[in-house]
Every structure is written in structure tokens, then in C-alpha cells.
Amino acid sequence: MIPALIVLSSAIPGVLIFILAEDSRTARITLNLSGAILKLLLIAYLFHGVSQGRTFDLRFALMPGYDFVLQANALALLFVSLSAVLWLLTTIYAIGYLEGSPNLSRFFGFFSLCVSATTGIALAANPLTFLIFYETLTLATYPLVVHHGDRESLAAGRTYLVYTLAGGAVVFLATMWLHSLAGPLAFTQGGALRATGATAHPDQLVAIFALFIAGFGVKTGLVPLHSWLPAAMVAPAPVSALLHAVAVVKAGAFGIMRVTYEVFGIELADDLGVLIPLSIVACVTIIYGSLRALAQDDLKKRLAYSTVSQVSYIVLGISLFGPLGTIGGLAHLVHQGIMKITLFFCAGSFAETLGVKKVSQMNGIGRRMPLTMIAFTITALGMIGIPPLVGFISKWYLGLGAVTALQPWVLAVLMASTLLNAAYFLPIIHVAWFRERTEPWPVDHGTPGVDGSWWLLAPPLVTAALTIILGLLAEMPFSVQTWAQLIVRREYL
């Protein structure tokens, strides 16, 4: 029952918020925050259970032969806890960012549905259930992307829909093909296909895998399916933050994870020879995204291309056969989320407080908004992979994974990406801290030296602190890396 409660803890407040009048601010905030906190408590309970080896599930039949199943296992919890923690923080941020502007009931309603869909994706225990939530996510996110309602937003929204619906259709196709080949499957640790007769048709399996990657690759932002992602950054900052860190891109990456580890099984995938092409796609995306990020002056656009690049680290980790690469990929699912959400929070605060939207306008911003810029600096350094921040932990395991998987060229790609990351993040840090401000800010709400509202400031500070703590204490039982090791022990049978 608990998995269902976790999904409902944001879905029900979401529906209630739709009904609320536009001006009932307190009720809306209460609903939002209580839902988010309840979800966290439920997840804490699950964590305890799952680490003891228990699983929790909920199952009912949709139609004969098709079950709707939610199940909390170790892999699901990794994603569900990421989304729950970051949802709470993003809600707080969104309240500070948007309160006072129109259409908030619509916004927060869809916002909650979006997170419900994400948790559903995390907890789905078979391809059908996964697909239901996957499509729900697409639809729940669209109103958020076009929230401003201007031309640019609508155009971005259209691009978003065309890409993601087409991607969803391809995933659907792959699921059905798989179903026809192997019958009903549930996500199984070690791979569901191993026990079926489908392994007799390797050609079809390769085609199905390719379809899955192509379908999920849209949301993941794999080149050349990534173009919607930089366009969608016209959305309000909290939406971009959620989109880039938790909801949409991660849903795609998580889909690839489920399919590779729990449908095909990593060993079957290795036997089929699909992992190396996947590595190549991931590496191309990593380099391409970074190169494009270099050329962007618009801060959010630079961050968006950085997402394209960084999310593929996760795919790269999946594609490296061996426990170390997997740990890197799993850990980066969470690490990238924590870091990227911080960067988008900060970018939003700069735009909201000072009207600063471009890197070229950021001279001296460190002195004007010191705490926000500290959070930005820490996480940007983390993104580059500077130790002891979390990004380094990911990079370390990915690098080790590449070497142990006998793909040392991947190490070279990782290092090239590090250089490129440094090339587009360090100049921002430099101008923010070491250039003097000579002209006035585009707009200026608030007092010099003060960062502005705590609603906007607290969330990035928390995530920046996590960037340090989860890296510095990577061997502690509560760290992402430790949990990733637990998952790996269960996936490599």
C-alpha cells in the first residue's frame, strides 16, 4: 500500500490545488508542503524496510493479463527519494519565485501531478505501469513549460510535445514488441528476459533495445534527440530546475536503467553487444553538449546544454559493463540532480532579483548576492568534478568503470568533458567574483549584499551543502554511493 500512498501524497494535493481559488495562498502552500513532507516520511519508512531486504508492492489487474504494479526496490528508492527531496525544495523555491503572479493554482496543480508521475515512474514494476506514468509525465509537464503563455513558451511547448510524444510512441512500440516476443514481463533484478525463451531471437532483441534507447533517449536528451531541452528552458526557473534535475530527463535515464538492468539484464545486454554502441552515443552526447554549452551567453541555455552533456554520464555508466561503471551511473543520477537543481535555482534568483540572464551581465555578482553565488560556485565546481564534491565521486567511478570494462577511450572522453566543463563554468565563477561591477544591474529588487528572499535562498544552500556532504562523506552508510553499491550487489547476480 505504501508505494501507492507515495504517489498519491502528491497527486491528491495536486487535484485539490486545482480546485482552490487563485487567492487562497495559505491553503495552497499548506497543501504543497504537507504533501511533500508526508512523501518524505513515507520514503524514509521504505528506506528502512528495503535496506533490510524487504520489498513493498501494490498490484491490481487493469485487464486480463495486464497488471498495474507498483513496487519499491532498491533501484526505485534511489529515484523516488531524489524526486521527493528535490520536490520539497523546488516547491519552497517556486513559492518564493512565483507567488504574486497569475495562474498559480494551475501551476502548482500540474507541478504536483508532475511529481506524482515521476514517483510513479520510479515505483512502476513492469513496462506497462511505467509507460502509463511516463506518458502522464509528458502531459503534466506541458502546462508547466508553457506557463508564461507567450509566443516563445508556446513554441517551446510545441517542440517539447512533438519530441516527447513521438519518443513515448517509440517506447510503446518497443514495449509491445517485447510483449509479443516474451509475454508479460515484470522488472526483475538481474534481468527479466533471462528466464524466457526470447533469448533465442537476438536480432529482434537488439532491435527492441535500440527502440527503447531511441524512445527514452528523447527525454534523456541523447544527441540528436536533444533539441527540445534547450528550447524548454523558457519555462519558469523552478520548472527548469525540476525538468533538468529530476522529472523529465531523469525519467528517460531511469527508463534506460530499468530496461538495461531489469528487463534485459546487464549480462544479456553485454552478450547482445548493445552496450558499446550505447557508450558511443553517450560519449558523443557528452562532448557535443559541452561544446554547445561553451558557445551560450544565456545562462539558462548554457546550463541546459550542460544538462544534455551531464545526463549522458548516467547513460555512460549504464553502458559500461561492470559494477564500478554502474555505481558511477547510479550515483550520478542523484548527484547530477542535486547539482543541476542548485544551478537552476541560482540562475532563477539572479534573473528574479537582478534581471541578470546572461553570463556577460554577471560581472561582480558575487559581491551583490554572495550566498547565492557561493552555492552556484560550489555546484559548478562539483559539475566539473573537482573533489571532494559529489561530481568527483561520479567521475571517479565512471573512470574506474571505463578502465575495468576495457574501454580506456571512455576515460579520455571523460577527461575531455572535464576540460570542457571547466571551460564553460570557470569563466562564470571568475567574472562573478573577480570582476568589478561598473554598470548598474538590469533591475534591482532588494538591498546590496543581501541575497533576497529566504524562499529563494534556502533551497540552493541546502543542495549546495548536500553537494559537499555527500561527496566528503561518500563512504558513510547514508551516502548515495553506498546505496548505489547496494543496488549493484542486487543487480549483478
Binding site: 510545441r158 510503446f172 509479443s180 573512470g399 580506456p408 576515460l411 573577480f434 566528503l472 563512504e475
Partner: protein, 597 residues
């Protein structure tokens, strides 16, 4: 060993305090209420490290599973020499910070980066596992950016940009080497790295990566180009620590990580000896062409680092003689670090020249000549001992290397002396900019450091240092140390008699950063070429796009009805697409079910 020392060596808190003292003070600087006391405490931050180096015996260590990737801290005999050097240099330079930086926000910011960098530098010496070493090395390197860029302006920004570019590249190479080594290891203990590299099939690649990655910090050719710019752009205390302590960290990395004594790597060994020798002379020649005292010193550092590279090369080429080579490198690092930071601090004192009397000036020049002569290998100074250790190491080199290196080594001492006399001359031609006499916090640290060049090496009872020190003043070795100095002084005297004067008016024959200038021009040329290629392509593409758009617009305009349809289609594109997808899916399911039956 005293009880107190045992206690120190066994407590986690003591080890952490050594590394974290600077970090805690830096944290204090960030807190509005605490920053004044923190600023007052900042110069004393390396004190725990100094006490540690003096009291705790070599071989002590401690493990902390809970920290990072399972941290190990330990101190070997070599580590202890580097820790002593590092603590002394940071202490002396730190004491002078307030005299050089002024007050207020700038002092606070500089001190913050200074402390972070110091924590990294001290910590990486004690690090006993790969991850901690890399973290602390990175902390030192990245924080030093704030020191180099401190004075802002074009010169500092360019120096800092080139520094950070080279640093990130160095980190990337270092990390690649560490990952390749770690893939062969159980656990991450630093002590296991050389053996793991020796056992690896790619040992030559790993050694190359580590040599290059750490070489950036050590100023090895050809990744040395950042060094003259950064030393010149950074404020004096930062130049002193960069040259005295941080470059030694690159050398320490080589000594700790490379499979010295584990594996005979003839190729890399020969490379080390050859490149080291070339670097030693290259630094001297380019340095003699420079007109800025700090840049001259930077080239002297590059040259001296070449001599240390020779020791590393010998260690790689002749594993059986590795301990002598490692000891030579460590003593040399200690000697060079003390001399070079004393000289940099001396540049700071020299800025107060207009307010000094004749006797003070004479003392100052004498004080600058002491490290200069020491670096030329004057017996009784640290340099005499260091050169003796290096000669012992060279003696053990394989093949015909000993004869060749022996002669070249002695001649390089002459070159070093010439370069440093050039430095003093250039320095004297610069009018000091400070009208008041040097405050105590500027000249006392300088004087103490200068004194330590003569004294310190005789006081160290560690491993083979006393024996080497005694040998350095043995009568039969005296002449071999003295003749390069005599030769150097004769050359200077002859040149002076012939009317040769160092001119300041002309710009330096080789721009600071030597290889950098053609490199930057090449980059600029490449960029221009790329633009030349891309621009027409882009223009053509834009032209085609415009023409197409105009054509479409024209066609649409001519048929109003079509235009309306187009608008409607645009509006409904999404809906229609969804519909089509839906139908496709339904059809697919039908077909599939039929096919299945």
C-alpha cells in the same frame, strides 16, 4: 620518541588539526563577527604542521574510514622533509601578508585563498590514500587561482587564465593516471600505487600521465609556461609560496606515485635525465633574457626543477639506487624551497629601498646573495648539501650518464649563479615604490628564511641528511663545489670589465612564458582561419534559409486561403500529431493481436 609525540601520532584530532587549522581560520574569515580575530590568527595557521614535522616520527599514520573514500593520513621520512619545508615557507610568507596586501576586503579575500591553498598543500603531504591526495592537491591548485588573480587588471587576469587552464589540464592528466593505477589496486593506499603501476600493463602510459600531470605544478618543460606569468602577477607572499612550497608538491607527487625503485623504466628514466638537464639550461638561458626580477626568479625555478627531474629520472632508470635519488630530490626540494621563497620575499623588501640607508641596502644585497650562492652550491649552505646529494645520485646513474651529468651539473651551477646575479642587477635597476622603511613584518620573515638557508640543514637529524651534510664539506669535494662559483664570478667580473651592462630599457628578447607567445599566436591564427571557413558557409546557409522562407511566404501570400489553412494547421499541428500517433498505436495493437492468433 617522547610520550607527547606518540600521543600526537595516535590521535585523529591531531592529524586533522594540522590540515584543518587553515580551513577553520578561513571559515572564520567568512563569518562577519569572526573575521578580525581570524585574520589575526591567519599567519599562525601552519604552526601545527611545523610542530608535527618536528615532533612526530616518520612512519606514523592513521586511518579514517568515515571520511571521503576512506581517508588515510601518514608521514614517511620523505613526507617529513616536505612538511617541514612547506610549514616554514607558508609561515614566513604568511607573516608578511599584511605588509604586502594592505587592509580591508582585499586582505580578507587574499587571506581566504591563501589559507585554503595552504591547507591543500600541507594536507597533500600527509595524505596516505589516492583520493585524499587528489582532493588536497586540487584544493591547493584551485585556491591558488585566487592568489594569482588577486591584483586584477589585464596582466593578472591573463596569468590566472593561463594558470587555471594548465592546472585543469594537469588535474585531468593526474586523475587519468590515478584511475588507471587504482583499477589495479585493492583499496586506495598511496603506498600501493608504485607497485600497482609496476604491475600494470600500461605502466609506461601511467608514468607519462603522472609525469605530465604533476609536472604542470612542478614547472616541467613544456608545461612550465604558466609559471613566469603567475609568479610575476601574484603578490609577493603568493609568489614565495608558489615557488617554494607548491611547486615542491608536484615533485613530491612524482616521488610518491611513480614506480621509483619498483620498476626499471629505461625510457622514462632517460627522458627524465635528458629533459631535466635541458630544462636546467633552458631556464637559465631564457631567464638571462628577462627584465623583471620576479620573472627571472621564475625561470630560475624552472631551471632548478630540471635538476630535481634528473634525480627522478635516475630513480626510474636505476631502481636499485632509488633511495639515494629520492633522498637527493627531497633535500634539493628543501634547499630550493627555502632559497627561492627567501629571494621572493627579498623582492618585497627591496620595494622599500628608497627609504633605506646605505648599510641597510648593503645588508639587503648580502642577504640576497646568500641564497644565490647557496643555489650555486656554496659549501656550508643548504645548497652545498643538496648538490652533494644530487652528485651521489648521479654517480649511480646507469651507463655513461654519470660522466655526462656530472660535468653538466657543475656547469649548471655556474649558470645558476650568473642568472641570480642577473636577478640582483635587474632588481637594483628597479626603483622601489614604497617611500617608508620596510616594516618588521616584511623584513623579519625574509631575514629568518635567509638565515635558515645557512643553518637549517645542519640541524636536521633525519635519515641520511647528517651524513650527506658532512660529506659536502669533506676537503676532497670542496673544490668540485667551488670551481663553478669561481668560474661564475670570473665571468661576471670579466663581463663588467668589458663594459657589459644589463639594460632595462629594451623589452626582453624572449617574452615571459617563452613558448606561450607562438602558441597563443597559433591559436589566434587557427581561430581566424576557422572563422574564415565558417563565415561563408554560415552566410550561404542563412541565404538559403532566407530565400526559402521568402519563397514560402510569397507562395502563401499569393494564396490567402492557403495561408489561413497553414495557420490553422500550425495551431492544430500538435493535436493532429497526437491523433496520428494514437491511430498508429491502435492499428499496431490490432495487427499484432491478429498476428499473434
Amino acid at each position: 620518541m617522547t610520550a607527547a609525540a606518540t600521543g600526537l601520532a595516535d590521535t585523529q584530532v591531531a592529524w586533522l588539526a594540522v590540515i584543518n587549522m587553515p580551513l577553520l581560520i578561513a571559515l572564520g574569515l567568512a563569518i562577519p563577527r569572526l573575521w578580525r580575530p581570524a585574520l589575526a590568527a591567519a599567519p599562525w595557521a601552519p604552526l601545527p604542521a611545523l610542530i608535527f614535522a618536528l615532533l612526530v616520527p616518520a612512519g606514523a599514520g592513521i586511518e579514517m574510514d568515515w571520511l571521503f573514500m576512506g581517508a588515510i593520513l601518514d608521514m614517511s621520512a620523505v613526507d617529513r622533509v616536505f612538511l617541514l619545508l612547506t610549514a616554514l615557507v607558508w609561515l614566513a610568507a604568511g607573516a608578511s601578508v599584511r605588509g604586502h596586501i594592505g587592509a580591508g576586503e582585499h586582505l580578507r579575500r587574499f587571506s581566504g585563498f591563501y589559507l585554503l591553498s595552504m591547507a591543500g598543500n600541507i594536507g597533500l603531504i600527509l595524505a596516505g590514500d589516492v583520493a585524499s591526495f587528489y582532493v588536497l592537491f586540487a584544493l591547493m591548485s584551485y585556491a591558488a587561482y585566487g592568489l594569482i588573480v588577486h591584483e586584477q587588471g589585464l596582466r593578472a587576469e591573463r596569468a590566472a587564465r593561463i594558470y587555471i587552464g594548465m592546472t585543469v589540464m594537469g588535474e585531468v592528466l593526474l586523475l587519468s593516471g590515478l584511475i588507471l593505477a587504482a583499477a589495479e589496486m585493492d583499496g586506495l593506499a598511496l603506498a600501493d600505487v608504485p607497485a600497482a603501476i609496476a604491475a600494470s600493463e600500461q605502466s609506461a602510459v601511467i608514468v607519462g600521465l603522472l609525469l605530465a600531470g604533476l609536472g604542470v605544478k612542478a614547472g616541467a618543460l613544456p608545461v612550465h609556461v604558466w609559471l613566469p606569468l603567475a609568479y610575476a602577477a601574484a603578490p609577493t607572499p603568493a609568489s614565495a609560496t608558489l615557488s617554494g612550497a607548491m611547486s615542491a608538491a608536484g615533485l613530491l607527487g612524482w616521488l610518491v606515485l611513480l614506480p621509483i625503485g619498483e620498476l626499471e623504466l629505461a625510457g622514462w628514466g632517460a627522458w627524465g635525465m635528458t629533459a631535466g638537464m635541458i630544462t636546467a639550461y633552458y631556464g637559465i638561458v631564457i631567464g638571462l633574457l628577462q627584465r623583471d626580477p620576479k620573472i627571472v626568479l621564475a625561470y630560475s625555478s624552472i631551471s632548478q626543477m630540471g635538476l630535481m627531474t634528473i634525480a627522478v629520472g635516475i630513480g626510474l632508470a636505476a631502481p636499485e639506487h632509488a633511495p639515494a635519488a629520492v633522498l637527493a630530490a627531497a633535500i634539493f626540494a628543501l634547499h630550493h624551497g627555502l632559497c627561492k621563497s627567501a629571494l621572493f620575499l627579498g623582492v618585497g623588501v627591496m620595494r622599500h629601498r628608497p627609504a633605506m640607508g646605505a648599510r641597510a641596502r648593503a645588508l639587503l644585497i648580502a642577504g640576497l646573495m646568500l641564497p644565490a650562492l647557496a643555489m650555486a652550491g656554496l659549501p656550508l649552505t643548504s645548497g652545498g648539501v643538496a648538490k652533494t646529494a644530487l652528485k651521489h645520485a648521479v654517480h649511480d646513474a646507469p651507463g655513461a650518464w654519470p660522466e655526462l651529468l656530472g660535468t653538466l651539473l657543475s656547469l649548471s651551477s655556474t649558470g645558476t649563479l650568473l642568472l641570480l646575479i642577473h636577478f640582483v642587477m635587474v632588481l637594483l635597476q628597479h626603483e622601489g615604490s614604497e617611500p617608508e622603511p620596510p616594516p618588521a613584518r616584511i623584513w623579519i620573515p625574509w631575514a629568518l628564511l635567509t638565515g635558515s638557508v645557512a643553518v637549517l640543514i645542519w640541524l636536521l637529524p633525519w635519515s641520511d641528511i647528517p651524513r650527506t651534510a658532512r660529506e659536502s664539506i669533506a676537503v676532497d669535494s670542496l673544490w668540485s663545489s667551488l670551481w663553478p662559483i669561481v668560474l661564475g664570478i670570473s665571468i661576471v667580473w670579466a663581463a663588467y670589465r668589458l663594459g657589459f651592462r644589463a639594460g632595462l630599457s629594451a623589452p626582453p628578447l624572449v617574452p615571459p612564458g617563452d613558448l606561450l607567445a607562438p602558441l597563443e599566436r597559433a591559436c589566434e591564427w587557427l581561430r581566424a582561419a576557422a572563422v574564415k571557413v565558417i563565415a561563408p558557409v554560415r552566410a550561404a546557409a542563412a541565404g538559403i534559409a532566407d530565400a526559402t522562407a521568402a519563397g514560402v511566404a510569397g507562395a502563401l501570400h499569393s494564396a490567402r486561403g492557403l495561408l489561413d489553412l497553414e495557420r490553422a494547421m500550425l495551431r492544430w499541428t500538435t493535436a493532429i500529431l497526437i491523433l496520428i500517433l494514437g491511430i498508429t498505436i491502435l492499428v499496431f495493437i490490432q495487427v499484432w493481436q491478429v498476428w499473434r492468433i
